[in-house]
């Protein structure tokens, strides 16, 4: 429906919407995160949910302790190599549609612990991340901003067509391979289907 026509109609007290918009409106206002904290960023995440910053205003106050009931995984903190398989497994156990926010420098790239032998250099090596928040740790406002960015992303998703999101496409996977411990850390070192090799990207 044309946007101008919609504004014109709303001036006359007629509210028009499409099924897609209604669906996305419902989804974006009831994103339930997983009760899941990894390090110091989790403290900021907890602060965001409390009365002062009040994530409940965005419909996301219901942190679910089970991945079966969660829509959003906030990877809040350093992902150690010991923890990475569990993180991927939890993500796999979440029902579609599911989203991931990588919160803080550690979850994005390993952050200050990047050179540690035991630290994963970014969770997007194994699971697709929707929103990255920089910061060490990011303030609650930053998490709220990331959350609003995610809401914008959800409301822009189409129900039909080639550009529709993964959970509506039959052929795309819902589970991602869980890394295992090998002789030199995690194997594979990254999921090549979702994490492109930077060298190959540079070479074109």
């Amino acid at each position: 429906m044309d946007q101008d026509l919609k504004t014109e109609l709303s001036k006359h007290g007629i509210f028009a919407t499409s099924f897609e918009e209604l669906y996305n409106w419902g989804r974006r206002n009831s994103v339930w995160p997983l009760t899941f904290g990894l390090a110091c960023c989790a403290i900021e995440m907890i602060a965001t949910t409390m009365a002062r910053y009040d994530l409940a205003r965005f419909g996301a106050e219901v942190f679910r302790p089970s991945p079966r009931q969660a829509d959003l995984m906030i990877v809040s903190g350093t992902v150690t190599k010991k923890m990475a398989p569990q993180v991927v497994r939890l993500y796999n156990q979440m029902p579609e549609p599911k989203y991931v926010i990588a919160m803080g420098a550690c979850a994005i790239s390993g952050g200050p612990f990047r050179d540690g032998y035991n630290v994963l250099k970014g969770i997007d090596r194994y699971i697709p991340v929707d929103v990255h928040i920089p910061g060490c740790p990011p303030r609650p406002e930053a998490l709220i901003h990331a959350f609003m960015t995610l809401q914008d992303k959800i409301s822009g998703q189409h129900l039909t067509g080639e550009s529709r999101p993964r959970h509506l496409q039959r052929d795309l996977p819902s589970e991602f391979p869980v890394p295992e411990f090998g002789e030199h850390g995690l194997e594979p070192a990254q999921n090549n289907e979702i994490f492109p090799n930077p060298l190959k990207v540079l070479q074109g």
């Binding site: 089970s66 991945p67 079966r68 569990q86 993180v87 497994r89 939890l90 796999n92 156990q93 029902p95 579609e96 549609p97 129900l159 959970h167 509506l168 496409q169 039959r170 996977p173 819902s174 589970e175 869980v178």
Partner: protein, 131 residues
């Protein structure tokens, strides 16, 4: 004269219940069928090995749920019996004490004696000493 009386509509006494029953079934069936249609035409179900796994805390379940408990826990069982079960029976005993016959009182004292015997035994065994 009887012909002029208004005739009440014939209604089965259970008719309301049947209507409510049908409404209840339809009320539940509509969302379920909508969800089924939604999954069939728009959002396909994607079950998987890990998604369908029973345990959901990120770790893989290993071992058997039917594990043996250490036999040394029998001491806890005995002490629990002495302190907890005894208290449960002592309370009504104390409440009805003045109205009890001699036989009932003796029966209760035998019960107490048995438990006190267990307490003395546990005490000698050193279970009650804090270490």
């Amino acid at each position: 004269m009887g012909k002029n009386l208004p005739i009440a509509p014939v209604e089965h006494p259970w008719a309301t219940i049947v209507v409510l029953l049908v409404a209840a079934v339809v009320f539940g069936a509509i969302p379920l069928s909508l969800a089924w249609l939604w999954a069939k035409f728009v959002s396909p179900a994607k079950p998987g090995l890990q998604k369908n796994a029973t345990y959901e805390c990120g770790l893989e379940a290993k071992g058997d749920a039917w594990v043996r408990l250490d036999v040394s826990y029998y001491l806890y069982a005995i002490v629990f019996l002495i302190f907890d079960v005894e208290a449960v029976f002592l309370l009504p005993f104390a409440a009805a004490f003045s109205g009890l016959s001699l036989a009932a009182c003796l029966a209760m004292l035998v019960f107490l004696l048995l438990l006190v015997e267990g307490l003395v035994w546990a005490c000698q065994k050193g279970v009650l000493t804090w270490s």
